[in-house]
Symmetry: C2
Subunit: 196 residues, 2 copies
DNA sequence: CGAATGGCTGACTGACCAGTCAATCAGTAT
DNA sequence: ATACTGATTGACTGGTCAGTCAGCCATTCG
């Protein structure tokens, strides 16, 4: 790993912390430089613009997510297990680095006017991957056919993001046990429903 | 209705359109004035700041939502019907004025660093109201007790917001039939689950 | 009619900040 | 030692924009 790549990473990590703390629109590039302990101009040596930094943060993580979905889908595991793996990836992403997920959820995933717009395609890819898992399970007769597969995927992802949002707004440290508990609860809720 | 109140409303409606189109952070106060066909300074005659306009937009609609949840809860209707009424209110809010809901979802509900932070309390009130409906139904034995009530409320609200987000990002006119269809699908998904 | 009230106007200001760039420094090759 | 390459620095610029304010105009009232 070159020293150059290290510096770039250093700035990227600092940016994540700053974006998470102050928000993309309200932070200054100088805040990122200060947080990284680096001169202002160096940020522009490694990134062409402030926006590009956010794009990079988002894409790095989201591509991992798409890979996870593809893997789950390709596996021979039962549908519930496939969904569990995806929920697990997202929850563990938050566990390992809450700031990255906070930035993605707050600044990209719902930003219909700014970044979200430029990444819709990629965001949709995730829903579609999950929908394919559901559709496959419906064809196999293990999930019931009444619910549209894409709609079910939205329910799944919407629930996961809602849980993250809750954690983000709480501002508190989440107890370790909570993470695994929630993974199970997500799958249970989506597959089992409430009854009635 | 005084002419004064009309002007205030005029500015408020224009602001909603501008926020929805350009986003709060990227629009200028002059854009709002232009959209309303009003002098720049008049905006500050009716509102102390740009932020206050967004706060007002959010609170007006959110208070209606809290009232709807309280009514549903107070009614003697079966739990599924109570949930249907809440989903119905939100979906119809979007049907009648997509821009208002777009602004709320995009600029407030997930804005953990800016507006969301100042309104967490009120946002949470909605989840708690929905959770009470679920808990009541669980006590009555019509919903199963395995799922935590607040978690179920998050699943419900998360799904609804995810559907709105989908509509917002699509940028297209939603066919009338879709609205009622989705209301039913939301309740069906939350109560019935996917099976397996 | 004259004056007072209050909605209304838009040019202006002061602060802020993304992005630039000329200069310096560190490391490596010759 | 000299030259070259690329990382690093931070002062500076150009443009933007929220909010102010001094005054205008329309209506009403004595």
């Amino acid at each position: 790993m070159s020293a150059t790549a290290d510096k770039r990473r250093l700035i990227l990590n600092a940016a994540v912390r700053v974006f998470a703390r102050q928000g993309f629109h309200t932070c200054r590039v100088s805040d990122i430089a200060d947080e990284a302990g680096v001169a202002y101009g160096l940020v522009y040596h490694y990134f062409p613009s402030k926006e590009t930094i956010l794009d990079t943060v988002f894409l790095e993580r989201w591509n991992l997510m798409l890979a996870t979905i593809a893997e789950a889908q390709a596996s021979e595991a039962p549908p519930r297990e496939q969904l569990r793996r995806i929920a697990s990836f997202i929850v563990d992403s938050y566990r390992r680095d809450p700031d990255v997920m906070k930035v993605i959820v707050v600044e990209v995933t719902r930003a219909a006017n700014t970044f979200g717009r430029t990444h819709v395609q990629r965001i949709m890819q995730a829903y579609e991957g999950i929908a394919q898992i559901v559709a496959q399970a419906q064809r196999a007769g293990v999930f019931r056919r009444e619910v549209d597969a894409l709609f079910a995927a939205q329910a799944f992802y919407g629930l996961v993001e809602q849980v993250l949002t809750q954690w983000i707004f709480s501002g508190e440290e989440i107890p370790e046990a909570e993470f695994d508990h929630v993974k199970a609860e997500i799958v249970e809720m989506i597959c089992g429903g409430l009854g009635g």
